[in-house]
């Protein structure tokens, strides 16, 4: 077996997928028109798989802030936060984030992935334990690998299993970092956070909560699931991303624990990469202001999300367990999932195709994410396009 033989399985998969036409994992948006529309394969297409929850990518305030920063501060920092890459705007964004979350300390990373990976790998060391939800994001798993800590999974969203595993650790539970996500990105299900917090407190463990998909989505202030459930004071570390509700790119961690400041000297993903560009920082600061100023965006996001979830349920699809901005449609057969994904694209609807092992089950997913910027007509078009998939099967006499 040679060095490159490991790629042959991926080559086969790619070639199989290409037989249907466009590679679902290599879609090019030829021209982006708005937060919810683009030109794909020469066709005006509704974008329903972008995680652009509040639709802020074209917010005039964010564009103007980014444009000004680009003009005044240049295209990039060319350096690490630890060296020349911290401008006044980076420090100001950290201050903004600390204020937004009502925390003492905030740290900005270059991407959300790097933030989560950096925090997990820095907080836990060789003598410690990482207790993570089995459906955790890849950035959490990669952080676990880098940490050198003992890594134990608990069953997805199962507080009883978490409790059992903390009990088994005995005194080591006090050297344990529990990691959970506010909203899980594949199925759109929410963490049973109140139970998780109660259990980690009982055993003296720390909790890191990833609000990547829940910031801007939950809570009257848009601070995430912890705010919505009135649990913020009991969460030790919150990580998140700028690339979803905030419409730019980057990541962060906030905490009341002063050790967070020292992570600047320990997280490899903070130290050994260039800092976010000035225009990104400026756009992000503007978007953070909009989350506060425009709570109606959250209302519209939830209206759209419920409309899509209810519409697809009525049409007969099996969906993720809870309505929310991520609406996952289960499709048991890979060939059917790929075919349906192409039919939707032909109808001018882009969603995410997710196939095992990237899914948390043996099923494929046609994963939709809603935006506050989707119009009701666009949501209805998405529902209609999905419904036509089933009606075609019924007309052909095939079981759903």
């Amino acid at each position: 077996m040679s060095l490159l033989d490991k790629f042959s399985a991926f080559a086969r998969l790619r070639d199989e997928l290409l037989q249907h036409g466009t590679l679902p994992f290599g879609v090019v948006t030829e021209r982006i028109l708005s937060p919810t529309e683009g030109i794909v394969q020469g066709r005006r297409t509704i974008l329903a798989g972008t995680n652009n929850y509040l639709g802020l990518t074209f917010a005039p305030e964010c564009i103007e802030a980014g444009r000004n920063a680009l003009t005044e501060e240049g295209t990039g920092t060319t350096g690490s936060r630890m060296a020349n890459g911290t401008y006044a705007a980076h420090a100001a964004l950290e201050k903004d984030l600390a204020e937004f979350f009502g925390r003492e300390y905030a740290l900005v990373f270059t991407t959300g992935f790097l933030a989560t990976m950096g925090m997990v790998s820095s907080l836990a060391g060789r003598e410690d334990v990482l207790l993570i939800d089995a459906d955790s994001h890849a950035s959490i798993y990669d952080g676990c690998r880098l940490s050198g800590a003992e890594v134990i999974r608990f069953r997805h969203n199962d507080p009883a299993d978490l409790e059992k595993r903390l009990r088994r650790l005995g005194d080591r539970s006090r050297n344990t970092l529990v990691v959970a996500e506010g909203l899980y990105s594949m199925l759109g299900d929410q963490s049973p956070l109140a139970d998780i917090v109660a259990i980690k407190d009982e055993y003296g463990a720390c909790l890191l909560l990833d609000e990547a998909h829940s910031m801007g989505v939950f809570g009257n202030g848009g601070r995430g699931l912890a705010e919505a459930l009135d649990l913020e004071d009991r969460i030790d570390f919150v990580v998140g991303t700028f690339s979803k509700s905030l419409g730019s790119i980057g990541g962060f961690c906030v905490s009341n624990l002063p050790e967070l400041e020292l992570v600047r000297m320990t997280a490899r993903s903070y130290i050994f990469t260039a800092s976010p560009t000035p225009s990104v920082v400026a756009s992000t600061r503007a978007a953070l202001g909009l989350i506060r100023q425009r709570p109606e965006l959250r209302d519209k996001l939830w209206d759209n999300s419920r409309r899509l979830y209810d519409g697809l349920t009525r049409a007969g699809f099996r969906l993720g367990p809870q309505p929310g901005p991520v609406v996952a449609v289960f499709v048991d057969d890979t060939t059917k999932a790929v075919s349906w994904w192409h039919q939707l694209l032909d109808e001018g609807i882009y969603v995410n195709l997710v196939i095992p092992p990237a899914t948390p089950s043996t099923s494929c997913l046609l994963r939709c994410s809603m935006s506050a910027a989707h119009t009701t007509e666009q949501v209805d078009r998405i529902i209609g396009a999905f419904a036509s998939l089933l009606s075609e099967r019924r007309a052909a006499g095939t079981a759903v």
Binding site: D161, R168, L169, P357
Partner: protein, 84 residues
């Protein structure tokens, strides 16, 4: 601390619930290659064994599990360390 034979018996018993009717798990059978376990089935198998012995297996060690016998040997080590 459980013996190797105890652990092997437990793994084979729990594995039996995941295999096709009539299929049995031998000591040298590869969990993925011979018995056809996918990643989700492996996760379920591990959880059931953990619950049976009231232990948690570190994720870091799971890639070492190639065969039924590997699994039993790891359980001997872990139960010895935990006093289970």
């Amino acid at each position: 601390m459980a013996t190797y034979d105890d652990c092997l018996k437990l793994v084979r018993q729990i594995l039996g619930e995941h295999l096709e009717p009539g299929q049995t798990a031998g000591e040298k059978d590869a969990l993925a290659g011979d018995l056809g376990l996918g990643s989700l089935q492996m996760l379920e198998l591990v959880v059931e064994v953990e619950d049976a012995l009231d232990i948690s297996l570190p994720l870091n060690q799971l890639p070492e599990l190639q065969t039924v016998g590997d699994f039993a040997r790891m359980l001997v080590t872990v139960t010895g360390e935990s006093g289970a």
